[in-house]
Chain length 235, copies 4
């Protein structure tokens, strides 16, 4: 059984990431999952975006990580994506970038505070930064452990990955996800934009405060869940 | 009676907002009013700009907010626009964005000071930030109350919306308006540009001072009112 | 006698300013002078750049400021340009913008320090900011007085406009000039770039020091005067 | 014997530098070396990028600096490039820019700290800034001495130019290099991006710390040396 539709969608999502200005050189990759088929499709490692075609997208087993379809080597971040799909069973796509503002917060090892409704529309509260990885985690299955570190952060803080579809890995950069592949890209774009705004907010007012919980909840519900009234609704 | 000309103009204005770099994802909407016909035309909710056509623009009653023309759902910010047209009887267009610098000032809950003639050409004095909304305002008719909050700010500060065609809603972002639809877009662009410059001005000199009132008045009169001598004059 | 070549050159220079990203809305204008013919050509006031054609460029008398050729109203900044050509007899072109970083320094009322060779290649020492204009200067022939203020700044500081081809008018923005029209645009681009770099230099190191005079002189001479060895030389 | 392939490659690399947004006006130049032929190819001085063709690229002797092929004058920075090829025998290309963030660090006279994996993927530790040049070095063979200053910095700090393929010349700007010409451009892009991120990292957290050595080594080895597992491998 082929996975042409998934590869097509993942290829397009990788190009959308570039179009949104989130990618420098080849730093970024988007994946998508087909849980019924037990596979994940992801960008090949270190391939230039100009030349990226659906047939370059690599399909791997969600279970073993083995290549199922495609002749190129999958992204070196593949094990991180795989862990995220296993740990967060309701997500359908993952987007990893080195977008400038989000990386800056990750390098500063600070959560991005929820300073406004732009943030609240996508992330229900601050976007967390993980702890630093320990030396043994780095020396071992590094990319796999990156995924476990993200899952640990969400577990320890009691966060639902559907409420907060993104994270900053300390000293590294952002991972965003979504209920499907385009939504993962959208959340990556939103994370970069809100990270940039949060940075400038603090420059204007170092004592800026997060928005009130009532406003956070209102905005999040405008776009998410049964009461959502943003957009044209589900067909 | 159809409203093709208004829809065409509002469609174009929404695309101009994108061209000016003020829109991320689908965060932004422009409306225009036909006061004689008692209607407002506005962007549909959550529709991608690439695909936006005049026939997608939704026409609603200025009085009731009911859809008069168009098959899509109007922007979720429609009630805010309606209140602005009712409260500010001389405005002809409204542009709402989440442009980065203006949002940062809104999140910092600081007025944008009038640091220069770029600002004075468009805004006669600082661009005000509203107070935070109360929980009851947020839980109730939120978007409607956002409009009332803006009107309250102008009333309490004794500001004329024709002199200061823009505002920052605390923890949210900018609304700009104008005597017609293109002028609303122009003021949204000017607000973002002056917000960015004000931010950098403070970085260079934290004690930067507003320009003198004489200069403020001179520049504002260059572009506005009976003595205006900027541009090619009215035909 | 017609001035087609000058109008063509000034039209192109205005478009180059836009292409270089220095212009927001219609904020900017370039002029060129023909001293033998006693005329200056300048952008018309408030005209959109998309539609700008050589025949829109307005030619005025260098002496009286009266329109000599062209059917549109010249830029409202025309009197400032005229004073600069009269006061600085060796310049051939003037470019005025509201480019973001240069405006920020003008609003901060700080000279742009010569922090590096990028700056020294174009400006022999810091780019000066003028004093604020007095109320009587603003209420009178404001644009004319802006030109006089610039000339006063150079006279009082003992600066040669050929060495330092640019200035910041306090609370307003940059004017740059050059030995010809393209060189005026080049200096406007260099001023914005070095203003941006100077701003970020201070963010990294608030105690950053200007470069040594030996380096300043070396770099300035690489590009200017009899010993210049940058570029392909004069044909 | 002609050097068409090298000129073609160097021309393309100069255009890639522009495409990556690293070049303002004509500030930037890329060179490539053919060590077997004993020549270096470099951009001509002060030529606009729009018009740059392979036949404009100037080929000079690696030994004497004399022009071997081409009718234009080579970049005024040619002597710096020549010294770098002689001092760093394993590099194949050099890219010099005045890209904004890297220049800001050079002007601030601060090393760019290794705040994250984006940096570590390209530079094994901080990117060093040189000392200021002495007056006698500036007055003498200035561009040649710039190259010697860079080599001195690496020698004194015990840095391997293959590990840290870039430097900031104090009060001037960045030079980057690589094992071949495209790799030099890639490192110039990476240096600008990481310089920008480092600047913003410090704005968010003035006490931000460099990443742990274990993570630095891991990331550097992912892309470099015998154990590299990023990309599609060597054919």
């Amino acid at each position: 059984m082929s996975h042409d539709a998934l590869r097509e969608q993942v290829c397009q999502a990788n190009l959308d990431l570039v179009k949104a200005g989130l990618v420098i050189l080849t730093w970024g990759n988007v994946s998508g999952v087909d849980r019924d088929a037990g596979v994940m499709a992801i960008k090949p490692s270190g391939v230039a975006y100009d030349a990226l075609r659906p047939e370059d997208i690599v399909v791997v087993s969600l279970d073993t990580g083995d290549v199922v379809e495609g002749s190129l080597r999958p992204s070196s971040d593949t094990p991180t994506h795989l862990v995220l799909y296993r740990e967060f069973p309701r997500i359908g796509g993952v987007a990893h970038t080195h977008s400038a503002a989000a990386v800056s917060w990750a390098q500063a090892e600070r959560d991005v505070p929820c300073f406004g409704t732009t943030h609240a529309d996508h992330f229900r509260g601050c976007v967390p930064v993980t702890r630093r990885m320990r030396a043994d985690e780095i020396r071992g299955a590094y990319e796999h452990n990156t995924g476990l570190l993200i899952a640990e952060s969400f577990r320890e803080r009691g966060l639902d990955p559907s409420d907060v579809p993104g994270v900053l890995v300390a000293g590294h950069g952002p991972f965003a996800w979504g209920h499907d592949v385009p939504n993962a890209v959208e959340n990556a774009v939103a994370l970069e934009a809100t990270a940039r705004m949060a940075l400038d907010t603090l420059r204007i007012n170092p004592d800026a405060r997060a928005i009130d919980d009532t406003l956070l909840e209102r905005h999040h519900r405008r776009k998410h869940g049964a009461e959502a009234y943003y957009g044209q609704g589900k067909a």
